[in-house]
């Protein structure tokens, strides 16, 4: 389809861009605090509304660069939900200075736009460009506290690792081009099915591409940047990068390996199993010894990525359903946990887990909510995290991957220890101070959305499951 005809497919992205430019321009004239947050919320809402109501029949657009199918639509919607919650968290986060607000929200809207493009790309070069856009804006956002040494260090580390990983990925893409004469994934797929190439060069190319994706998903051994970046970034941005780029990474992983390179996928399952078990185990074991809650959640998110890989490895419809469901649930519960951390650090001025002592007495509501998010991450019923883990386990057992299932079960027990350690501090230890700061309404709204999400999805998963099913039935 030509560019002119394709335009109507990307209205939601265009709306986001228009809003972001408007915010940046307005920022030159007015420094009114709070205005830009509301404007960007509006932008996201309009974009979501447009995505929901104006959805032409699925088609490859812009000469196959982008795909407009129900699979990408699901992730576009999820990206918008994530940004919506992150904006709410940011509005209640007092570290961002008033004069920086327009720039901050501009970047948030642009990165959302880039994510929406990345999840719908059907061409390796397009994937590369969109992912790079997501990465570059992430680096800036991580280093957003310009005068904070930790934030700067985090940004630099993230940048160095990131460029290396994307460079490697680009190198892999060049191999694919050399082999097939195109970077269009659907053409590559047809060639693979008819000719069945399975040689060393292809494996090398896929390995290199995988390295780039694994960096985004924070899989072991490409996880080194995670704890520092999470700790140094402003907490609202930590919430975002723990979810947003990860979604992109997993979507690309699913698209490349389970759709277009499906014929060679079985040969890779052993390799992925090793990565999966290493990711879960390393994430969980290192998380135990963390004393900073942001670092702890960073390692926990590494482990969570390992769980998601289980569904990916099975490659069955149930497995893919479990992956999509888990990503959805993970996004909500992780954002919720970071929203709580933002709220609490605002009041106690610390991210150290020890300083959470006795929080249940100082601020029972926040403590209760954080406890629920952590229990959901740990996979305790009837919270949404359990439902997600249940489906992943089910997928593993269905495919007779008993080893993976047992590894995941043991890991869940290990993970439980550090999640509950935080709960222990909040509920079992005595508080040092008892004052509570007034809480921001926006942040509380974000929390209410997330809490309602994990409770409702946990007890009544039907709507989300139907949504997931609809998006994978091509």
């Amino acid at each position: 389809m030509s560019a002119a005809e394709s335009i109507k497919y990307i209205y939601p992205e265009l709306i986001l861009l228009i809003f972001s430019v408007a915010i940046l321009t307005l920022g030159l004239f007015s420094k009114k605090s709070g205005l830009y947050g509301i404007l960007s919320l509006l932008g996201v809402t309009v974009s979501a509304f447009c995505l929901h109501n104006n959805f032409p029949a699925p088609a490859p657009i812009f000469s196959n660069l982008l795909l407009s199918d129900s699979f990408s639509r699901f992730f576009k919607e999820l990206s918008l939900v994530v940004t919506f919650i992150v904006i709410l968290i940011s509005m209640g986060y007092r570290i961002i200075k008033e004069e920086d607000e327009p720039e901050y929200y501009f970047l948030l809207l642009v990165i959302t736009c880039a994510m929406m493009l990345a999840v719908s790309s059907g061409n390796l070069v397009m994937i590369y460009v969109a992912m790079e856009a997501v990465s570059i804006i992430s680096y800036i956002l991580v280093g957003f506290r310009k005068h904070d040494a930790l934030s700067n260090e985090a940004a630099l580390k993230y940048f160095l690792f990131g460029t290396l990983a994307t460079g490697i990925m680009l190198y892999g893409i060049s191999f694919i081009y050399g082999l097939f004469g195109t970077t269009d994934l659907s053409v590559v797929h047809t060639a693979l099915v008819s000719k069945g190439i399975n040689n060393v060069t292809l494996s090398a190319a896929l390995l290199l591409i995988f390295a780039g994706i694994a960096f985004k998903c924070a899989l072991v051994p490409f996880h080194m940047w995670v704890p520092d970046a999470y700790q140094g970034a402003p907490t609202s941005i930590t919430a975002f990068i723990s979810v947003g780029p990860k979604i992109v990474g997993f979507v690309v992983l699913l698209r490349v390996f389970l759709k277009d390179f499906l014929p060679v996928f079985p040969a890779w399952s052993g390799f992925f199993t090793v990565i999966c078990v290493a990711t879960m185990t390393a994430g969980n074991i290192i998380a135990i010894s963390q004393t900073n809650i942001k670092r702890m959640l960073a390692y926990s998110s590494i482990a969570q990525a390992g769980y998601i890989l289980i569904g990916f490895i099975t490659g069955t419809p149930l497995g893919i359903m479990a992956v999509l469901f888990y990503i959805f649930v993970y996004a909500i519960m992780n954002l919720g946990a970071f929203a709580c951390v933002t709220l609490i650090s605002d009041s106690i001025k610390s991210d150290s887990i020890k300083d959470y002592a006795g929080l249940s007495k100082r601020d029972p509501v926040s403590a209760f909510m954080l406890a629920l998010f952590l229990l959901s991450l740990a996979g305790i019923p009837p919270l949404a995290g359990f439902m997600g883990k249940f489906l992943l386990f089910a997928a593993a057992i269905e495919s007779k991957l008993v080893f993976l299932a047992i590894a995941a079960a043991i890991n869940s027990v290990i993970a439980f220890y550090y999640y509950v350690y935080v709960i222990k501090c909040m509920y079992l230890d005595e508080p040092q101070i008892l004052d509570v700061q007034p809480k921001s309404t926006a942040l509380q709204t974000a929390l209410i959305i997330a809490i309602a999400g994990i409770l409702i999805i946990g007890i009544w998963p039907l709507p989300v499951l139907s949504l997931v099913n609809a998006s994978i039935s091509r």
Binding site: S360, L375, I380, P381, P382, F386, F390, L391, F393, A394, I397, E398, V402, A405, I406, A409, I410, S412, V413, F416, Y417, V420, K424, Y427, L428, P461, L462, L465, S466, N469
Partner: protein, 492 residues
């Protein structure tokens, strides 16, 4: 009449828990009232359940079935039969009595009663669920409140005990989850329905059955607890506050044994037959080992905790016998142990509240100062050691009787366990009640009316079942006969 009585039992407790959350934490009276009502209503309903129960029916009664997650064929499916009805009543009864015993909790009451009620929801649901998914959900719901109840209101080593309890049981239940999933995927069409899975059409190969049996065994054995998975139990019991100990011993341990009755045995018949001998051996180890360790304890509560390990051995032995009599004994022992040991823990709590110590050697001569207490403690101890005329004897005797034709040597060794049990209980009575009065306790007061009110119902049940066991056995007879027919065990 289509009155969803089981749902009402669960939801009245759940509603209570939610209501407690919205009461200001200063209004302790209202919190306690809500909690009492939220445990009294289920008790009342469960008594109605007992009366409306059809004794001759071997099938599931009071069934409720609603679609829940159709994509994976999960149903909200509840029901009760002769195997679960006694346990439902036991849970409701102990839930109510322990709630009254909780009045003495004087810190963070709001949180306490919230977690307490949530715990009750999980326990009641576990015994009612007929869908494996639902069963697992209720099973896990028990863990979190238990962690807090031990961790916040427990003794000096509460944090250690709470996390140990949680990690042990979580590890077990995750393996159980894998077993449940394996059952689901090996059935055609895929189902979580416990009743359907017992049908011969769903029979699996022996190898597969053995694997799944082991996975489920890990979950159930840790909960029972079966040696060598029992080490969490003494820690949890010693540190838990009295009402929680009552529920822990009275109900939580039964969840594991119930799992054998409801899931492992009827669904994995061949594997169950394959494993009877190891089970019987584990049973006798529980009996003898638990009894010896109990004898060596200096801490009153720890002694009772290990006596639980010993008593649960009779349940395992009865199960392993694969006879109708043995099954009857095992199931009745579950109920009786709940009543007797629940009472024992209440009595330990009474003493602890007055003296703030549980060291057996620090008491002495209390029989003179606390005659009512002395009387009750003696009766409960005698019931626990299996004196004829009290309920504990009936069920242990039936377990042994059922096991004897199958495992002669093991049964003979098990009987020795009863002698050791008698020894340590009598030794305990001697150290606490008899001998010279320790001057420290010169002005100790006897049990008050509330404490007596809590323990009398247990005492009555104990005596009634001891004298006329049929009153309890008639509830379980037809369900156990049906189970045995399915299992193809010995019908005598």
């Amino acid at each position: 009449m289509n009155f969803p009585i089981l749902t009402y039992i669960i939801s009245s407790t759940l509603l209570g828990a939610v209501l407690v959350l919205f009461v200001p934490k200063k209004n302790i009276f209202l919190i306690k009232t809500i909690a009492t009502l939220a445990t009294a209503i289920p008790l009342l309903l469960s008594v109605i359940l007992l009366f409306r129960f059809n004794l001759s029916g071997a099938d599931m009664q009071f069934q409720e079935k609603l679609a829940w997650i159709p994509q994976i064929n999960v149903w909200y499916h509840l029901g009760a039969d002769g195997i679960s009805i006694g346990l439902i009543f036991l849970t409701a009864l102990l839930g109510f009595l322990a709630c009254i015993a909780s009045y003495s909790i004087n810190t963070r009451e709001k949180e306490y009663f919230f977690f307490y009620l949530l715990l009750n929801v999980g326990m009641l649901g576990t015994f009612m669920a007929l869908d494996l998914f639902l069963f697992y959900m209720f099973w896990e719901v028990v863990l979190v409140p238990m962690y807090f109840l031990i961790g916040i209101w427990g003794g000096p080593r509460k944090e250690y005990a709470a996390i140990k309890f949680f990690l042990y049981t979580l590890a077990g239940s995750l393996f159980m989850l894998l077993g449940i999933l394996a059952l689901y995927f090996t059935s055609t069409p895929h189902t979580f329905n416990m009743l359907e899975l017992t049908q011969p059409a769903h029979a699996l190969t022996l190898g597969l059955q053995i694997l799944i049996f082991i996975a489920l065994f890990l979950g159930f054995a840790i909960k029972v607890p079966i040696f060598p998975f029992h080490t969490w139990l003494p820690d949890a019991h010693v540190e838990a506050p009295t009402p929680v100990s009552v529920l822990l011993a009275g109900v939580l341990l039964k969840m594991g044994a119930y799992g054998f009755f409801r899931i492992s045995f009827p669904i994995l018949k061949e594997a169950a037959h394959y494993f009877v001998f190891p089970l019987a051996v584990l049973g006798v180890i529980n009996i003898i080992y638990g009894a010896f360790v109990a004898m060596a304890q200096k801490d009153f509560k720890k002694m009772v905790a290990y006596s639980s390990v010993s008593h649960m051995g009779f349940v395992i032995l009865g199960l392993a016998s694969m006879t109708v009599i043995g099954f009857n004994g095992a199931l009745l022992e579950m109920f009786n142990h709940g009543i007797i040991t629940g009472g024992m823990f209440l009595l330990v709590g009474v003493l602890y509240e007055r003296t703030h110590t549980r060291e057996l050697d620090k008491f002495g001569g209390l029989g003179v100062k606390m005659p009512v207490y002395a009387g009750l403690l003696t009766v409960f101890s005698l019931a626990s050691l299996g004196l004829p005329g009290l309920s504990g004897f009936v069920s242990e005797f039936l377990s042994l009787l059922g096991a004897y034709p199958v495992f002669k040597l093991i049964t003979v060794i098990s009987v020795l366990g009863m002698i050791i049990t008698a020894a340590y209980f009598l030794y305990m009575l001697q150290r606490v009640l008899l001998g010279r009065l320790n001057e420290k306790w010169a002005d100790i007061v006897d049990m008050n009316k509330l404490e007596i009110f809590i323990i009398v119902p247990l005492l009555l049940i104990m005596i009634v079942i001891g004298v006329y066991p049929l009153i309890a056995l008639k509830y379980q007879a037809s369900a156990i006969n049906a189970l045995m027919q399915k299992m193809g065990g010995m019908l005598f």
